[in-house]
């Protein structure tokens, strides 16, 4: 009698454990179906290799999702995608919709950057410094060239063209240096007027048309 009772108890436990495991299996499958129907797929690729791809949303944190490319499921909504490679970050957005696949591409070469005077390569400017202007005035002069073309890559002074203009030592008029300069290959005539150790202004004239293209007076 005892033997029969313990067998029945064992059978009952086995049935209960089986029921729990099977219910959990059903839950796994049902929740997977619900997830697949209530989410969308994002396929994102980076043009550049070794690029870390991440996503975020306004009012949410960010998460890494892959290197070079990633395919993930997301709840519907607009997501910010970003990659950072070679010192540049690029971002875009992707609108995820239920049951749909959204493709996105990230290319850091299309990254938005703010030019700085430090990004410009100034060539032969040491010859101007040797002509008597202060280093502070030199910074101002470079800034004036940058004002003319913030996207300039190379600004090169024609060192042979530098000419100090006559100056009356009794007058308070500024000193003047004339020289030719190439701004990304475009030849301009430059007139730098300077006084004291901080004041400087620049006038740039198009060599071909004779038109004044910048005057910082």
């Amino acid at each position: 009698m005892d033997n029969t009772g313990s067998r029945s108890t064992l059978r009952l436990i086995a049935v209960l454990i089986s029921a729990v495991i099977l219910a959990w299996c059903v839950y796994l499958i049902v929740s997977a179906v619900i997830t697949s129907k209530t989410t969308g797929i994002l396929v994102v690729k980076s043009v550049q290799p070794k690029a870390s791809i991440s996503i975020s949303q306004p009012g949410h944190g960010a998460q890494f999702i892959g290197v070079d490319n990633a395919t993930v499921r997301l709840k519907p909504g607009v997501y910010n995608l970003a990659t950072y490679v070679n010192g540049k970050e690029t971002v875009t957005t992707a609108n995820i919709k239920k049951g749909q696949t959204t493709n996105a591409t990230l290319d850091v070469e299309r990254s938005f950057t703010i030019p700085s005077v430090d990004d410009v390569e100034f060539q032969n400017f040491n010859f101007i410094l040797n002509s008597g202007i202060s280093s502070e005035q030199m910074s101002g002069l470079k800034l004036d060239f940058f004002r003319y073309k913030p996207s300039a890559k190379v600004i090169a002074v024609d060192s042979g063209s530098i000419a100090q203009q006559p100056h009356n030592p009794d007058s308070t008029d500024p000193f003047r240096l004339d020289f030719r300069v190439s701004v990304d290959g475009k030849i301009l005539k430059a007139e730098a007027s300077y006084a004291g150790i901080t004041d400087i202004s620049l006038k740039l004239t198009d060599q071909g048309s004779g038109k004044v293209v910048l005057s910082t007076n």
Partner: protein
């Protein structure tokens, strides 16, 4: 008794098979990792993303790695300047300038405490004025 042991072994095999099948089915149905982002203060995600470098697989976490304060929006919220502080002192606190590009904020300057005065030429007046008045631009 032997009969009953065999039945239990069969049942165990069936259950293990059911679990394996359930996992395989789930994997096939869902197909890809499901990502869920934690709620966090505004700009947190964009700032964390701007700290991702190269093939790094981790991003800094708000509150654990960094905090944000004094967010100032400009130009119809196309630009924002925000102060970023390091919780673990991994980097010096500084301002980060972000611009909305393709609908998302992208870090374009910083984080730092001193920037070239030449940014007055290329940043919108409202942003450069704020940075200048706050002492972040120098000649």
């Amino acid at each position: 008794m032997v009969m009953q042991t065999r039945q239990y072994i069969k049942l165990t095999i069936v259950l293990v098979a059911a679990v394996i099948i359930a996992f395989i089915a789930r994997s096939v149905i869902v197909g890809h990792p499901v990502i869920s982002l934690e709620p966090a203060p505004a700009l947190t995600g964009s700032v964390a993303q701007s700290f991702s470098i190269g093939d790094s697989k981790t991003l800094p976490v708000y509150g654990t790695d960094f905090t944000l304060k004094n967010a100032h929006y400009f130009e119809n919220k196309q630009w924002v300047v925000v102060m970023v502080n390091s919780v673990k002192h991994d980097f010096d606190p500084g301002v980060l300038v972000m611009k909305k590009v393709n609908g998302a904020y992208q870090a374009v300057l910083g984080p730092g405490s001193q920037f070239s005065d030449s940014y007055r030429v290329t940043l919108p007046n409202s942003v450069s004025r704020y940075l200048g008045e706050s002492g972040y631009l120098h000649g």
